[in-house]
Symmetry: C2
Subunit: 333 residues, 2 copies
Amino acid sequence: MKVTMKQIAKEANVSVATVSHVINGTKHITEDKYNKIMQIIHKYNYKPNSTAKNLRQQKTKTAGMVVSSFPDSFITEMVYGVEERAREMGYNLLLVNTNEDKNYEEETINLLHSKMVDGIILSPTSNDIEYLNAFTDEDFPIVLVNRYNNIVQHAPKVTGDNVQTGYDATMHLLQHGHKKIGMIYGVSNVSTTDERIEGYKKALQQYNLPFNDSYFELGHATVSGGAAAAKSLLSRHSDITALFIQNDLMTIGAISQIKDLLLKIPDDIALIGFGDFASSSIIDPPVTNIVLPPDTIGKTAFDVLLNKINNPDYTKHIELPPSLITRQSCGCK
Amino acid sequence: MKVTMKQIAKEANVSVATVSHVINGTKHITEDKYNKIMQIIHKYNYKPNSTAKNLRQQKTKTAGMVVSSFPDSFITEMVYGVEERAREMGYNLLLVNTNEDKNYEEETINLLHSKMVDGIILSPTSNDIEYLNAFTDEDFPIVLVNRYNNIVQHAPKVTGDNVQTGYDATMHLLQHGHKKIGMIYGVSNVSTTDERIEGYKKALQQYNLPFNDSYFELGHATVSGGAAAAKSLLSRHSDITALFIQNDLMTIGAISQIKDLLLKIPDDIALIGFGDFASSSIIDPPVTNIVLPPDTIGKTAFDVLLNKINNPDYTKHIELPPSLITRQSCGCK
DNA sequence: CAAAGTTGGTAAAACGATTAACCAAAAGGA
DNA sequence: TCCTTTTGGTTAATCGTTTTACCAACTTTG
């Protein structure tokens, strides 16, 4: 049977209040009483019941994190960053993966809210997140991470600078002389994709090249999805000489497809992927990626959540800059 | 301000008990009262406070999952399986990554226990888990997954058949004519490694080959750790013609190292990795892996946890069989 | 020595639900 | 009609803590 504070108190011949004070150091207790209580606590390996504590204190020292997909290494590392910072700060993390299911996302937020987490870090599945306003309006702390949306007024945001990401990747390919650049992405109607497209356009404009959205291809964010997207895109536009791919798994799939078509990377098709996934350097040829720092984004998001919890007025959009890791797939070196 | 049941009751001119009965369907309530209460609930978007509910019911419909590492794709997919099944069953999952820190693992179990999760699925960081007995002795449900240990008597276990895994991989290489087979692993003193070594020995025995543990190399379970381990092992034993590597990241690192040494895969060094990681088929040459089904292991583990929660006497060790996915790196085809 | 602090400790009211026990009124049965 | 059930609803205890308010006993201080 689970031992409670009442039983500790009884055995030590003191009130529960005294036991509580000993545990929390909220009042000075004479040494002999203190020692006796401590000894009994250790004897039973007693740990206060957090549920009761949470109920009384109206806070849980638990944060929720809701992400839209998991196998993706970018998200995994972001979660890892959040985890690490949460731990440092003495928080637990309730992690839920919605698997890009919008309805489940909303359900989850409701659930976490009723579980009394102190706040939520959310990487939403789409731009369609007005429902969040019901929460932010009552000052329930929600931080948007990675993907965001200005519909939600009072939520702070931590994201990568995706316009710059799209711009830098595209510019790099343009500078290598490419003029017909295809883009493959795995999710539509999210800020990350939209902004990278915006950056892509901006780069093209700078080179006075026309923009044509049939050079974009949406696929499933999986290895096979990447292969299918590459196949479809390359058969539609045989003039494409370079590809910018938004996701690690799709990059792997696209490369496999390109090899199947007996095309050479980078000579026939140059390629830039996204995110510094583990096998990048080992694939033939090694893959050039544009990266945003998932770990830093995660840690920052948790810091921002803490700020938001302590100060409901906190509203800020922190954007982290991308960097390019050049290897051979883009034609460098 | 957050609305409570009391306020709903007041506005509907009924007792809190009635509201509770409406919400939980625990008693029949006349239609007009029912409607009125429901309407007020929707008006405020009221959700019962789970902390209070948990406290009263002495259960949380939340399970804990504690894993020892995260970037590893095997673990990620296992977590994914647990997540999915937990969701199906209406449970939340409190996921914690100990990052192979034994002390933190123990702390975490304590923490989760006091958070009143209904049970824990644990992939322990080492064999050193006697501390768990304190929990299982008081019938707190803990399921060991992936790695296990018979020191903990009353915990059910869900693992891969790692003896078979080691045996099958080694046999496959032996059948290809290899006699000097190196093995690289990332964690010591865990059942997975120990059992795979056991399987390795068994296969060697069957071929009447001598066993020598200097053909084993322990490294960090990372890309660079894999590279370093391969370098050290191959320089120690230039006679090695095949490698069996226990972890996806290390496999990637080892391949990169082998290429740096200007050795050919599979001609100079044949290679079998572990786990069907995404880039296996795209790496040059495509990597043969022996795999255990992480998703099934995860789902099964959750089912077993549920069994354990409902029946404290449940103690069973479920072992899932491996399968070999042959590609070119082992010399096949 | 009386008044004023200080100190160590306790009683009891929260926190927000669930649920056993109870009760009046309505319905059913003899 | 009177007695028994059923129905719809309420009261109050309970879960295991924290924390405010209070109190007695002891110390200081003027």
